[in-house]
């Protein structure tokens, strides 16, 4: 999904570069992506640029309009919350499948990740730590396609969430919940862990919704 980039070397760096710029917010939602300009900037022709943009469209990052090229896609508040519902479905299923496959080294990795939470400073760092822990939870599920979809969804939410997180209240609540989920996994309690994870994501969703409401009314 995200990975099997067609290996045609020329468009791959363009794709990566544009994707990073969108995810980091360097290119703002709604901003048009000029093919000639990008091509010139990278010293190549438009063709690989178009291919990179098409791939970004397939990933949901940009939007094409007939004869008007590509623009960075803006996620509406509703779409963001809808993606959260999809996260609940996919991530709970992944965890359910993963727990029976977990071995000690998996738990070790996750504990190590949780320890590092104390030292996070920037929002970006926290966000990537968070993603790492969640991915570590799901990784043993053995379903590569499911893992791909989860990564896709997380990334699609990225730019929008990054903005909201700047006004995030506390990091303690998610941290505690992560520990609880990990404990349930270690005791092999599948339904318990899944219920905790579901509640974890649902709470995030509600907080996000609240922040969105607040921002929209301001």
């Amino acid at each position: 999904m995200t990975k099997p980039a067609h290996l045609t070397t020329t468009s791959q760096p363009i794709y990566d570069s544009l994707r990073d710029e969108i995810l980091s917010g360097a290119i703002r939602p709604g901003e048009p992506l000029r093919q000639d300009e990008i091509a010139k900037r990278h010293g190549i022709s438009k063709i690989p640029v178009r291919e990179a943009l098409l791939k970004l469209e397939a990933d949901g990052f940009v939007l094409f309009r007939k004869n008007r090229g590509a623009m960075v896609r803006e996620l509406s508040a509703a779409e963001l919350l809808h993606l959260m519902d999809i996260r609940v479905a996919l991530e709970c299923k992944a965890l359910e499948l993963a727990i029976p496959n977990m071995i000690q080294s998996d738990f070790d990795v996750m504990h190590a990740l949780l320890k590092q939470y104390a030292e996070v400073e920037t929002v970006e760092h926290w966000s990537s730590m968070n993603q790492s822990f969640h991915n570590a939870l799901y990784e043993p599920c053995g379903n590569a396609q499911l893992l791909d979809m989860i990564r896709d969804i997380q990334q699609r939410m990225g730019p929008a969430l990054r903005l909201l997180m700047t006004e995030a209240s506390g990091l303690d609540r998610p941290n505690e919940e992560h520990h609880a989920i990990l404990s349930a996994c270690e005791s092999g309690d599948v339904t318990g862990a899944v219920d905790l994870l579901r509640a974890h994501i649902e709470t995030s969703k509600k907080e996000t919704a609240a922040r969105l409401r607040r921002r929209d009314t301001v």
Copy 2:
């Protein structure tokens, strides 16, 4: 996902045509897709053909290999079963979200669909009926992105399942389960309906797995 085809008119018909040929089995898994040949056949240049192929790659229907072009992607048995797990997750979530939004006209549509089951003859017809009923179940969920993903998964499984279904034993079991699910929806029993749906898809998965095993050992 599937729909927001970039509206550049030239590659759209190519995409549709190739997609149909793959879904219908006219182009077999593993078969290479020659860009020049397709371009000549449609009287256009390679560029829109490549764009169509890249879109098909993003949808998971074809696979690109460096300097060797695109070939129709073959789903392994394991991948097929993995997609079934994803179906369970996504479709159960969609149904859960849909039931509170269902109104009488939704139920009417679903009953009408189930009545038509008696008259199906070909495997293709049954398959499309089946998909229609499932989609009708999820449609009221109000989450367009989720519906898109469900359609995507169903289509990706299409070609592989079509083959297996030819040796399908009975159509009665799924039909009865569909009635049971619909009843639960009508009485507003969310968890009951979702449990029935989960069992319904899980059973399909097990039957598919059994058929795959049988075929592989033969």
